[in-house]
């Protein structure tokens, strides 16, 4: 008996649709189960983290860079940093110089500015700590082709290194240079290499009620961390009392690292 073309298409389509529906059940079940689980005793819906860097207080000791490298297994080489410190020098003839020897890891005392910028008429100079701004509107998340980087509910941008394909789009997209590629296994937390890595604001510490390592060791109070949801947090106090600035506000990334003591020319 011949099957008419109409019947064949009709039944084939039914089977196809049914198959797709049935086959999506396992992953749907998995997603629903995952969505229901809350990470540990920490409720990430109750927090929204913020960070303040005080350029007027930073002394350029580089302890934050060291602490970050140790705490997060970041490579010791200055090419790989989750946080670093930049020195800005403004001269009387309105030139701006920026440097960051070894990313500030060894401090700035070894090579005094007087020898490095010999002959310059320095008007003013200060240090600027840099780290991931954990943008509210993160371009790195937008460009990721596999959805491996995402924003958590408490406002931190993280990378799922098991899904990252190492395409480097996010490194290009980040206006703050906060991302780098893990070169080998010595810096990895979950076993992946040649995937992207970045500052997590020490997500493993803040979810346990500790401060990020860089904030913990800062001897000058130049790094302040706190909950934007909590009116009594030090970050909220600073935001309500001081004039603060963010890096590259014109890009609309809405960074959550707020700077005290800004200056035209700092970017």
């Amino acid at each position: 008996m011949k099957i008419s073309r109409r019947d064949f298409i009709k039944n084939g389509a039914k089977g196809l649709v049914g198959g797709i529906i049935v086959s999506s059940v396992p992953s749907l079940v998995r997603d629903i189960a995952a969505a229901a689980s809350v990470p540990g005793s920490y409720d990430w819906e109750k927090h929204y983290w913020g960070f303040v860097c005080d350029n007027e207080r930073c002394i350029g000791c580089g302890k934050c860079v060291v602490a970050c490298k140790l705490e997060n297994k970041v490579h010791w080489e200055p090419e790989y940093n989750r946080t670093w410190v930049e020195r800005y020098v403004f001269t009387e003839d309105d030139k701006v110089f920026v440097d960051s020897p070894n990313a500030g890891r060894d401090g700035f005392a070894k090579e005094p500015i007087s020898t490095k910028y010999d002959g310059l008429n320095i008007r003013k100079s200060f240090f600027v700590p840099k780290l991931c701004n954990q943008c509210d509107n993160p371009p790195c998340v937008t460009v990721c082709p596999v959805g491996a980087t995402y924003k958590t509910k408490d406002g931190v941008v993280l990378v799922d290194q098991e899904h990252c394909i190492g395409c480097r789009y996010c490194i290009q997209a980040c206006p703050y240079g906060a991302r780098y590629i893990l070169p080998d296994t010595s810096g990895t937390h979950f076993g992946q290499v040649r995937v992207v890595d970045k500052c997590t604001w020490c997500y493993h510490r803040i979810t346990k009620g500790l401060l990020p390592a860089c904030v913990e060791v800062c001897p000058a109070g130049a790094r302040v961390f706190g909950d934007l949801e909590d009116p009594t947090s030090p970050v909220r106090r600073i935001l309500s009392e001081k004039r603060v600035y963010v890096l590259k506000p014109e890009l609309g990334t809405e960074p959550k690292v707020y700077y005290i003591g800004f200056e035209k020319g700092v970017y």
């Binding site: 995952a34 200060f126 491996a148």
Partner: protein, 249 residues
């Protein structure tokens, strides 16, 4: 056409089998998770939250090292966490491993070497001249760096009586540099308290401070020319030290 229905049913079953079995059985979970190009952010965040910490924070150190803590709490280094100098304490907590502490001049210089870029109110010294080649900790207790050091200037006379224990030209080297250099030296002087002591010992010949003013902010008026201005040898003085010499009447 029951055989057509049978064929369609069979086709349906085969298709279901084709979609479900490979998806559920041999496909590794990591592939399924890719789904529509989305990782599971909650699971990933949980993983990030789960990695071990290294720095333990000062509040943990206090549990055992209370003596150091008491000292540290009073000093100017109370804003510097233990692990800043001592390094992360996790290994030390686990097996009591003795820490290897860097006590070099370089370590202190990391923060205190004079740099133009540092905030001007942050304590900075010239590392080439300060204290010769000695390690800083021979004089400065890192937990209370100003213990036994000259007070921050200008200082009051409160609780002090023997001026020359510090202000003595014969005293050891660091004190040669400290005031009084202007306006007077110690030469030919021995009775500091006649000027700098308690009110009743101060020289009666020096101008008195009217009692009603209380010596709160002398320079507010004594720099304007409206009242008697400061004499030339008082350059650089602040209101805080007027009462060290001038008696309140």
């Amino acid at each position: 056409m029951p055989h057509l229905k049978r064929a369609a049913g069979l086709l349906f079953l085969v298709l279901v089998f084709m979609f479900v079995v490979p998806r559920v059985m041999p496909t590794p979970a990591v592939l399924v998770d890719f789904g529509f190009h989305k990782s599971n952010s909650e699971q990933s965040a949980e993983k990030w939250a789960g990695i071990p910490t290294l720095y333990v924070s000062t509040s943990v150190c206090v549990d055992c090292h209370n003596d150091k803590y008491t000292l540290w709490q009073k000093g100017n280094h109370r804003v510097v966490s233990c692990e800043n100098c001592h390094g992360p304490a996790t290994a030390h907590l686990k097996d009591g491993a003795p820490e290897v502490l860097n006590t070099s001049r370089d370590l202190c210089g990391t923060c205190h070497a004079r740099l133009v870029s540092r905030p001007s109110d942050f304590p900075q010294v010239d590392m080439n001249t300060m204290g010769g080649d000695a390690e800083c900790i021979t004089c400065h207790d890192p937990h209370e760096p100003r213990a036994g050091m000259p007070p921050e200037l200008p200082h009051t006379m409160e609780g002090r009586s023997n001026c020359q224990s510090c202000h003595d030209p014969q005293a050891h080297e660091p004190f040669e540099q400290i005031p009084p250099q202007a306006p007077h030296t110690m030469e030919g002087r021995s009775d500091c308290l006649s000027c700098h002591g308690p009110t009743e010992l101060r020289g009666a010949s020096l101008p008195h401070i009217p009692a009603g003013l209380g010596g709160t902010n002398c320079l507010l008026c004594h720099t304007t020319g409206g009242v008697k201005p400061l004499p030339a040898d008082h350059t650089g003085r602040t209101s805080a030290t007027c009462m060290n010499c001038h008696r309140l009447n």
